[in-house]
């Protein structure tokens, strides 16, 4: 591991000033950054440790009915906040379906948004990777790519964004609050992550030195609380990234869908908001036939980027099931196996 400077600023402005220098990286929970540094995938010259900035650690209800979650709130603390879980059950479920209990205790809100792809060639510094080293090529294209993207990919990069948390967040119109040299600004989460295009190395809307200070959920996000689910298919029952996941949230009245939100995870370089599917759902009957049309719409532009055609059909089915689950109502308690297809198994005792 390369030598680096370690700075622990006392205030947000100090942090931003320190991180404005080239080669800097913020350290939050460190669960992704430290692995990347140990593997030589990133080699920052200076670490700006924000983990003890107290003002980033709060969950605040806003006057307009929205919620502001500090960037350093730990994934576990957020998921286990009873008021939060009640208002945004799909987000809590997504959080608890991610990683392991130990990792969730360390991982932060900001870090979760900014975690890098799990593409194995990105981690393997001997491989060509446009995202890690622009212009070198993409070894995943002809490689072991059964879990790579089926939406929004380009020949420059076929990686996915691995976050679970971001999937219901993007469905619920979350907004990222960013503070930088030029002050504070707000970017919708949908706009925050970028598709690869020709420049996969540009992963998000942050400029050098920018600090995520909070994630906001608008007032409307809580209106889905009675019918919101997150569903995640994975290759072991817990402690695995999504093969494909979906967040679905509905407002249903008299059998008609009055409002609908849908997003997919594990399919693209960003959490994938399925707006065309939402358009199909809006005003339609809350029926399986509608959900199937919505799923078709959500995947209409999908195409395999490698040995992963199965993910398209899988995503369709997950969308349908997530919508059915949302329609049947948010469970009273978070299931013992959050977001798992097996979450309903009677007698399941394991909690995450």
């Amino acid at each position: 591991m390369r030598d680096f400077d370690y700075i622990r600023p006392a205030t947000i402005p100090d942090a931003i000033a320190a991180a404005a220098e080239p080669g800097s990286a913020y350290l939050a929970g460190g669960t992704n950054l430290l692995d990347l540094m140990k593997g030589g995938i990133t080699s920052p010259e200076r670490i700006v440790d924000i983990s003890r900035l107290p003002e980033l650690n709060r969950i605040e209800r806003l006057d307009d009915g929205g919620l502001r979650i500090g960037a350093l709130v730990r994934n576990a603390d957020l998921a286990y906040d009873p008021a939060f879980a009640k208002s945004y059950p799909a987000v809590a479920e997504a959080l608890l379906s991610g990683a392991s209990a130990q990792l969730r205790n360390a991982a932060t809100v900001g870090g979760n948004l900014l975690q890098r792809t799990r593409c194995s060639y990105f981690y393997d510094t001997a491989s060509a990777c446009n995202r890690r080293q622009p212009g070198t090529g993409c070894d995943a294209l002809e490689g072991e790519n059964r879990l790579h993207a089926v939406l929004g990919w380009s020949d420059a990069c076929i990686a996915t964004h691995p976050s679970d948390f971001c999937v219901p967040l993007v469905a619920l119109d979350a907004v990222v609050e960013i503070e930088g040299k030029k002050g504070r600004r707000h970017v919708s989460l949908e706009e925050f992550h970028r598709l690869p295009g020709e420049t996969p190395q540009r992963e998000n809307a942050l400029e050098p030195g920018d600090l995520i200070v909070a994630v906001r959920l608008p007032a409307e996000a809580a209106s889905f609380s009675a019918n919101a689910r997150y569903l995640k298919v994975r290759e072991r029952t817990s402690y695995a990234f999504a093969v494909v996941s979906a967040a679905a949230a509905l407002v249903v009245d008299g059998g008609k869908i009055r409002a609908a939100r849908l997003a997919l995870g594990g399919v693209a370089a960003k959490p994938w908001r399925a707006r065309s599917a939402e358009a199909v759902l809006l005003g339609a009957d809350a029926s399986e036939a509608t959900f199937a049309s919505a799923a078709d719409a959500a995947l209409a532009d999908a195409s395999p980027s490698g040995d992963n055609a199965f993910k398209i059909e899988l995503a369709r089915r997950i969308v349908i099931r997530a919508l059915i689950s949302a329609l049947s109502g948010t469970p009273e308690r978070l299931p013992a196996l959050p977001a798992s297809p097996f979450s309903n198994i009677p007698g399941a005792r394991h909690d995450a």
């Binding site: 799990r118 059964r146 072991r236 817990s238 402690y239 097996f342 394991h350």
Partner: protein, 752 residues
């Protein structure tokens, strides 16, 4: 309850024991839970430096350049060891004097023969400096195309598979058997490359003092490691002291000393200071062994009653380009099912990988998942229940050799496990069972078997005048509970309570306990302990029975019993005296006895010796997503005498969980071009987590085996993985109607 043990050496002197059979908790448990147990990498001798490997990122070629200057210029770097300055060895690391000697990569030249091969060692004052020094070497390579995958090279027929077994074997006429059959099946299955992935990485802390060596390193075979190091460095084995009190798992990968461990010793020699070298997780995917991939084809013929008329099992596997270890997968068909004609054969490719080695039931596990799947297919083809089919083909003698079994309680295993599981209500047709939530539910079974192997071991027993005892043997506890089970055997062997025995193990200056492998450690070292106890008790009895002052005087012909620190006349238990009294009267502070454990050649010749078991699995499969969950596992195992039911059960649990892992999780994903493993970490190399094993039960089936050894011990370490992997695969078929053809079973295989 006291039970009398028969003694094979000194029948006149019997002991009665009560430690054996008790469900004692681990004696080392407290140390481990509190973190006080000192593992190899926890050691920090004064003046110690850190060594870090630089490893190859190519699979084949040569290292054209290393920027040693840059590494050495880095602050804290003390030395860089490359082929140019590596201290001389007394033996060629590429020499192979016997099949158990594996070739090592010790910087003997600039050639690269697999990814993650060591190409240099950087030694520094800190771990961070050594790590960065290794990165700064920025190797340049001359790259040759990598040979990857079972179709990546021309296939050969290996000279031997496993430990010297013939690659091709047969009895009877398989083709004729198939021809005469009423029903036939043919099926092919693929298993992937797997890596041991013990929690504890290979680590070594080493200090040279002149020509003597002091080493802390995890080892499943202390004396073998000592011998190998002695040979490589040209020093006497007794000048090498290896401590290995605890291993954080081994699974076969710590059976032989590996290249990186020897490089740690070389690094210490080069710099003249103590050195610590610990492998990084990804560096464990290459130089410390793995399980090779296989592609297995089985053909079976059955008569009108569902009796096998022929069984043909072919396995294609892989080894490295420079050494020989061939996974003996097809040999799994030698022992379980009766058939007038059986043929097993192997072929293999040589790939640019590290050499595969023994891993978690080598051959047995790989072969078992294919054999048990094929048996399931055969039963279905005959319209029979899989259990009924297995009973119809039950082997009364070992099918391949015709030898009688030393003991075989498999029928009882089938019965108990099936009953506990509730197998009787299973429909024969697949895809008929759904649970209340709509999940496809399937029930599958597999037969478990593992040979009862013994190696060679020695032990030394001491009785002291204060009435206490000492038992010494260089045994290895990989986490399986050897510290406890051996102490129990020692206590009974010495006729003492377990707390009066000072049991010593895990160090190379103790008597050679052989290897903790092949599920044979408890039997082998256990017998050495037992015999050492017998020897010292015999000496004690001689003292007493020949001493007119003893109440035991003259009892020699009748014999004596040893129990609770006292000897008793066998014919009159009211007459006895304590060890302390006997020794004190004889004016001795202590007496000692030695014992050996080894297989008995005569019974080896006469009997087939195997442990057996039956495993039943329930899986649920999401009908739309193909995600699988094993919701229930019930196994029943018969493996001779149970020394400690708690430890034995946990060995079965562990084995069964590895079986789930084999069927559903484990796979090293290798890039088809570079040959590099893409998931060389525990996030992406999946093994089961708690949520994958919601319910597991292991039944201990009573079995007396008078032939395996005097203690009647078989072995319990590896058997659990066999049978289970196939049971899970068969349950997946029963749930879905889709026959798994490659492992691990993938979501896309079941999407339909």
């Amino acid at each position: 309850m006291t039970l009398e043990l028969s003694l094979n050496q000194q029948p006149a002197h019997a002991r009665q024991g009560s430690s054996i059979g008790q469900p004692l908790t681990r004696r080392d448990g407290f140390l481990k839970v509190t973190g006080a147990a000192r593992y190899a990498a926890d050691n920090h001798p004064p003046g110690m430096l850190y060594a870090v490997l630089a490893v190859s990122s190519i699979a084949r070629g040569r290292v054209a350049a290393l920027d040693v200057e840059a590494a050495k210029a880095h602050k804290g770097v003390v030395e860089v060891m490359t082929p140019k300055n590596r201290p001389a060895l007394a033996a060629d690391p590429d020499a192979k004097d016997h099949p158990f000697m594996f070739r090592l990569d010790l910087l003997q030249n600039d050639q690269v023969r697999y990814p993650n091969q060591s190409i240099a060692v950087v030694i520094a004052e800190t771990l961070e400096a050594a790590t960065e020094g290794a990165a700064l070497l920025s190797p340049r390579y001359e790259v040759m195309p990598a040979r990857v995958g079972l179709d990546g090279a021309e296939s050969i027929v290996p000279r031997a598979v496993g430990v010297g077994g013939p690659a091709v074997q047969h009895k009877g006429d398989v083709e004729a058997g198939l021809k005469s059959a009423k029903t036939r099946i043919e099926a092919t299955y693929e298993t992937p490359a797997q890596y041991h992935n013990a929690m504890e990485p290979h680590a070594i802390v080493v200090a040279w003092e002149g020509d003597t060596l002091s080493i802390d390193t995890p080892s499943q075979g202390l004396a073998m490691a000592q011998g190998r190091i002695a040979g490589l460095f040209g020093i006497a084995p007794e000048n090498i002291h290896i401590r290995s009190p605890f291993l954080g798992g081994g699974f076969g990968s710590k059976g032989m000393i590996s290249g990186p461990q020897v490089l740690g010793i070389l690094a210490a020699r080069l710099v003249g200071r103590p050195v610590k070298l610990v492998l990084r997780r990804e560096q464990m995917y290459g130089p410390v062994g793995h399980r090779a991939p296989t592609r297995q084809t089985l053909r079976m013929g059955m008569d009108g009653e569902g009796r096998l008329t022929a069984l043909d099992h072919h396995a294609k596997t892989a080894s490295s380009t420079f050494d020989d270890f061939f996974e003996p997968a097809a040999d799994a068909s030698h022992t379980l099912y009766a058939s007038p004609a059986i043929a097993t054969s192997h072929d293999a490719v040589r790939l640019d990988t590290g050499t595969p080695l023994f891993m978690r039931a080598p051959g047995e596990a790989t072969g078992s998942i294919a054999l048990e799947s094929a048996i399931d297919e055969a039963a279905y083809a005959c319209g029979m229940d899989p259990l009924e089919f297995r009973l119809r083909n039950y082997a009364e003698v070992e099918p391949m050799t015709g030898k009688p079994f030393s003991s075989k309680a498999l029928r009882e295993c089938y019965r108990q496990a099936a009953e506990t599981f509730g197998w009787a209500s299973r429909p024969i047709q697949p895809r008929l069972m759904r649970d209340a939530d709509g999940f496809l539910t399937g029930w599958g079974m597999g037969t478990a078997t593992f040979p009862a192997i013994m190696f060679q071991a020695e032990a030394r027993a001491v009785l002291r005048a204060d009435g206490s005892g000492v038992m010494e043997t260089g045994a290895q506890d990989m986490g399986q509970g050897a510290w406890t089970a051996f102490a129990q055997i020692a206590a009974d062997g010495l006729g003492l309570d377990i707390d009066q025995v000072d049991f010593r193990a895990g160090s190379s200056d103790l008597p050679n306990a052989g290897i903790a492998g092949g599920s044979g450690h408890t039997a082998t070292a256990g017998m050495a302990i037992h015999n050492a106890g017998a020897a010292v008790i015999a000496r004690l009895a001689d003292l007493a029975t020949g001493d007119e002052g003893s109440p035991l005087y003259g009892a020699g012909n009748e014999g004596v019993l040893a129990r609770g620190g006292r000897l008793y006349r066998r014919d009159d238990e009211s007459r006895g005296e304590s060890y302390a009294e006997i020794l004190t009267r004889a004016g001795l502070t202590e007496i000692e006895g030695h014992g050996k454990g080894a297989p008995d050649p005569a019974s080896q010749e006469a009997y087939a010796k195997h442990a057996h078991g039956a495993v039943f699995a329930e899986v649920k499969v999401d009908p739309d997503f193909g995600q699988i969950r094993v919701t229930r596992l019930v196994g029943a195992f018969a493996a001779g005498r149970v020394i400690n039911p708690r430890l034995v059960r946990s060995q079965y649990y562990g084995g069964m969980i590895w079986g789930v892992s084999f069927a559903l999780h484990e796979e090293a994903i290798t890039d088809r071009r570079s040959g590099r493993i893409q998931n060389a970490n525990l996030a992406e190399y999946h093994v089961p987590v708690n949520a994958d094993v919601p319910s597991i039960e292991a039944l201990l089936v009573h079995e007396d085996d008078p032939h395996v050894n005097a203690l009647g011990i078989k072995g319990v370490g590896e058997i659990g993985i066999t049978g289970t992997a196939g049971a899970v695969a068969n349950a997946v078929w029963h749930a879905t109607g889709v026959r798994p053809r490659r492992f691990p079973v993938r979501i896309e295989d079941l999407l339909g």
